[in-house]
Symmetry: C2
Amino acid sequence: MTEKPAMKIDPWALRETELRIGSLAQTETLFALSNGHIGMRGNLDEGEPTGQIGTFLNGVYEIRPLPHAETAYGYPEAGETVVSVPNGKLIRLLVDDELMDSRYGEVLRHERVLDFREGVLRRTMHWRSPTGQEVIVESERMVSLRQRGAAAICYKVTPVNKDMQLVVQSELVANSDEAVGEHYDPNDPRMAAVLDKPLRSEEHFLHEEMAMLIHRTENSGLRVASAMDHEIEGPEDMYIEGESGPDIGRLTVTAKVPAGQSLKVLKYLAYGWSGRRSISSVRAQVRGSLSEARHTGWEGLIAGQKEFLREFWDNADVVVEGDDEMQQAVRFALFHLLQASARGERRAIPAKGLTGSGYDGHAFWDTETFVLPVLSYTWPTAARDALHWRHATLDMARERAQQLNLAGATFPWRTIAGRECSGYWPASTAAFHVSADVSDAVLRYVKATGDEEFNREVGVPILIETARMWQKLGAFDSSGEFRIAGVTGPDEYSAIVDNNVYTNLMAARNLRGAAAVAEQFPEDAAALGLTPEEPDEWRAIADAMHIPYDATQQVHPQADNFTHHELWPFDDMEPTDYPLMLNYPYFDLYRKQVIKQADLVLALFTNGDYFTAEEKRRNFEYYEGVTVRDSSLSACGQGIIAAETGHLDLAWQYLQETALVDLHNLAHNTSDGLHLAASAGTWLGLVCGFGGFRDYYDIPFFAPRLPKNLSRLAFNLRLGESTLRVDVSQTEATYTLPRGSSVEFTHFGEKHIVAEREIITLPIDEIPRPATVHQPKGRAPDEIKTTGTHLDETGALLQVEGDYPHQTGSAV
Amino acid sequence: MTEKPAMKIDPWALRETELRIGSLAQTETLFALSNGHIGMRGNLDEGEPTGQIGTFLNGVYEIRPLPHAETAYGYPEAGETVVSVPNGKLIRLLVDDELMDSRYGEVLRHERVLDFREGVLRRTMHWRSPTGQEVIVESERMVSLRQRGAAAICYKVTPVNKDMQLVVQSELVANSDEAVGEHYDPNDPRMAAVLDKPLRSEEHFLHEEMAMLIHRTENSGLRVASAMDHEIEGPEDMYIEGESGPDIGRLTVTAKVPAGQSLKVLKYLAYGWSGRRSISSVRAQVRGSLSEARHTGWEGLIAGQKEFLREFWDNADVVVEGDDEMQQAVRFALFHLLQASARGERRAIPAKGLTGSGYDGHAFWDTETFVLPVLSYTWPTAARDALHWRHATLDMARERAQQLNLAGATFPWRTIAGRECSGYWPASTAAFHVSADVSDAVLRYVKATGDEEFNREVGVPILIETARMWQKLGAFDSSGEFRIAGVTGPDEYSAIVDNNVYTNLMAARNLRGAAAVAEQFPEDAAALGLTPEEPDEWRAIADAMHIPYDATQQVHPQADNFTHHELWPFDDMEPTDYPLMLNYPYFDLYRKQVIKQADLVLALFTNGDYFTAEEKRRNFEYYEGVTVRDSSLSACGQGIIAAETGHLDLAWQYLQETALVDLHNLAHNTSDGLHLAASAGTWLGLVCGFGGFRDYYDIPFFAPRLPKNLSRLAFNLRLGESTLRVDVSQTEATYTLPRGSSVEFTHFGEKHIVAEREIITLPIDEIPRPATVHQPKGRAPDEIKTTGTHLDETGALLQVEGDYPHQTGSAV
């Protein structure tokens, strides 16, 4: 049974005040720790009860066959699926020979706090055993942002009021049966494929308090080493025993602990993997990480973590005044974005980060479209690394293009290592916009950072090869327009359409970007076989790109014919009909006007320079009426355009839906991992929505406007060597430069330059209230009341139970 | 290795003059015997060598899971696949303890003849064993057209020149390992799924020379009984021994046979199955069929067969003068059409009849579109029975419509028992035209026969329920036109398109037909809940049906936007690129102008009343340029319209391609079973192509015109109680009435009435030679030279080795 977790709002932490077993699957995701290389779900130390046990290493996957009832040319025959690596979080406790388990005895107190500034998950538990023994367990867990291969746990148990015989078992367990919790549903396509015992033991050994396991995946052939070491503080006569087996390392500490004294176990963990290196090499690497962690010591690791996060927050923090939960939500989002990407180092940023196995651990286009814009302006090295990963997969993207009778390169819809892993081509292979999204992320990163070395190394090949793909994918028609037929845009309730506006606009930008780098780096372009004609051809295609327009309705159709289709019978729908994809066939969704997620409206944001303000207003109004938001990717874009077109209250509701998707489990599948694109969407909704930030002009553009419930919004943007700070109130915006010498920007279209130590304050005019827009019946965003507990001004707890809105649906 | 079979052309038989092991997979199909209930591939009596062993009972299938890499709402989770029932064809021979096997020793003579007028497969073999013993084996095999559950074999072996110890083993074998021959390719989607030992034994017994096996399929739960009985003639001291086991019945005859004398085994076979009835009931039924067959006796069975076929040929024969192979081919085609349907009795007519396991034994729309028109005019009871089968599946079609958010009923793309068994919805679920094709076959059968009882019982529910589906599937747009979006027409190189012309025209006919029967049979319509408005609504929809037209190019686009798509790069194609679906992804085929099989051109035939002669001419010319005929369903329609538009030589080439697809193994997969739609297409190509017969007007329409190489074409049409005979020469056509009192018809648009004993001879004007049309590079139909052997005027053999044209592709 699913319960709501007991949360207390805190501006700098996620704070749970009570253990609710029915919410574990969700809270394991929310409390997950990661550095982009290692990911650990917030499982209880003692392993059980659990929703889903998970410890992940970015890039470790197994290959599984993709079955097709009817196969055809070009279908991927194998997919990649994330696998859980050995679980080193486990610390079990026996109190007078009774296994500590929160389902038995009595939990007198239980608190978990994930501190966004310290990067530590703290837990305090006061437990009374079935026979009446009371202990206090205090544990702290961290995955190091500094030391990429390391994690650590400080576990302290204290008998209350009497001496007790305690046994603490610290484990490292591979292929555990419980890797899948009770909520697993094999029919839900959003969940991961379950592989039975995916790791084959290659080696295990024990040395004093240190144990190491080496495994290999059967089909993908990836070697994974995991190790633990310990420092133990306790009574002098405690007894310590270690053992190891193919799938287990275990250290058992037995001690008679006097009342009021403690037994403390410091556990250091290290992980590493390689698809190429030998056992001895991988072993040495992980042994090194482990030694380094122990050498750094617990205090050192904690200090390093704090320091890393201080730098991050100095650059990335967003201040929201007027709504405590939104303040918390945006920091929660940024913290997890950092965790997902900080030390990914040329690995993908999966849709769920490393917080769960949902979507098989795959990365999708939403990384480039939603996550990387945030990172480009807050923590650009992480954006750079994620794009280096795409670059590393370019050969696979070239092969795929060749297989598909295209030129250049086409990036996969979903993947871990770079291969296309999708089993349904109309919604994947045909979604060629993925390649434009990758290119757009490259262009944005370079524009934001001025990183020309990256541009030469990564930008040139990605932009040129994708431009070649677009050139081959479309064709000039007899009227001289360039048309791209038979593709799928972002909206998954349409497929295989002609001239999807989002795709065509993004392709045009891709082509122009390619022409520019080809001329900027002629030698590198020549190495890719650039012909002298290509840049001009690409610009000509971009200029001739066909963007359909329905002159009768005076809106842009999402794609050819869209506005001529029958309307979905929205008025006949019941709440249980949503998400529609679980209750209606694709054939019916595709051929009617019903939109799962912003598509044309997303283009109004990403390619806003193409549309007039009036077109945006009309388009937004039209598409609001047919968009059902069965995807968590939708509300963010709708909210941003709602804000731009003056629908500030609606924008706020969409922002809430985005920001609280996991905190409130709005999509009912936070158990599978975070919706990282929605985390990013929280930042985008604030900065691009109410901050009015756009980056498609030559210089940063701002048109800030706050909804009535916010009194202040402040955020920083890293722009090359400068950091621009924007501080917005209801009536004015203040631009300062905490770092750098000067930055040009526009405020409502008017150009300004802010220099060091300068404070530019500019007024915000009121926008005329636009006509009300309407969503399909029952699909208007609900006002989300805060769930959990506020701290009132006196510091006392103020319980506010929230209503959950209707919103369900899948992230991608 | 595939060889060409050694065939000699014979107007009334398929005659093979030599045993070529590399052609066995093909000839087993060509020599298959069937009555529509029982099907036996033309395997050698001794079982091996073989291409594919196969004995089928119409309607016996097993259920298998349909795996989906990514599942979605409405996908079928299970499919049906035909399974081989116990093989009763087996008669093995040991000559002086040496197993007779044509791969060893020497085949001195081998002839097989399938006699179209006698319905018997005769084989003569003169074999010299490795040790030099010579025997002559003469066998005759028949599947009774009269006695539905019965088959029989007369097997005679004669030692040559010396006395020999002979052992003849007559077997009935279930779950044989060799059911799949060497040519099996699990990656070819056109082949059947292979199930391992699909039959579970329930009972087996032996009584004197009779053995019976009862089996049941595991998942579909169908009970199959098979039995054999024998009459044996041979030396008095021969020794006969029987045995039975779960998967085997065997009778062994041992005899010392003097030179010149014979050992003769008459084997009677009976088969039956049921999904509901008890063991004892199924056992009794098959025991009864077996007794009846033995009681009838071999001579009686043969006489009955001849008589049945005499009646068939009296009604159905087509005379072609000027091309011996075409004369043979059309009789071969008609013979197999009869075999596939004669005693189907409310079971499907699968795409391959009962001649092989290709396409999993499924029936498709081509049964209604190609096969049933032929049967409606030649052997209407078979058409009636096949439509009764569709009617019997109506509840499943209703459930499917409900699942798909539609009204009424929608028939499956591929099925055995009535469930949708397709694993790829864009090419199946979306091909809604299937339901219009079924309705069209109903309308045609009723028009041809005047069978109003059938119309009331079957026509009313099928027409009304499919009309309701169309009404829900499409919608009126703001301009008042009715549009049907997101469907797939006959061409499988397009999918999910708006306003496919073929579909919309066929839907309109369906709707009008429904309105007519609703008013003709008001009580039956009322029982289906007909509202008073429905007939008028259906007529209004039919009248408002949107048929797109490209005014610039002055052609009808196959569907919206089709003529705006990029042309397939035909000039870059090599012969090995075809069939394109095996070398290019669907996404690329769908979005370009390339057509697998006639679609708009098929509509020019099936719905020719909609188009002007000039439109037909222009459309045909246009679509010839983009049609690659990667399906054997294509040439027939193209040929008919080629003939209508005056391209008589081209029409002949398309007819050859259709008529010889199996005889020449043009699609390289005759091994999997006959292309029954192409068999039907042979008749259609002659009767509708060169005979110019159309049935979409009130009275039969003829516009006959022969290609230059034919001197005569004569055919009969059964029209209710009458039979109209049309006898066409280069210059005139003669209409007579072998049966009936009078028939109205038009000859080139001019109305005539032919009465009993009247002979109406009318002139044929020469048609102006039209401009040459062009097919894509390398895809023009080849002139097919006759392969095999002609009989010249003196009766001597004239060897003419044929060139095989490029044509490959799938039937459906």
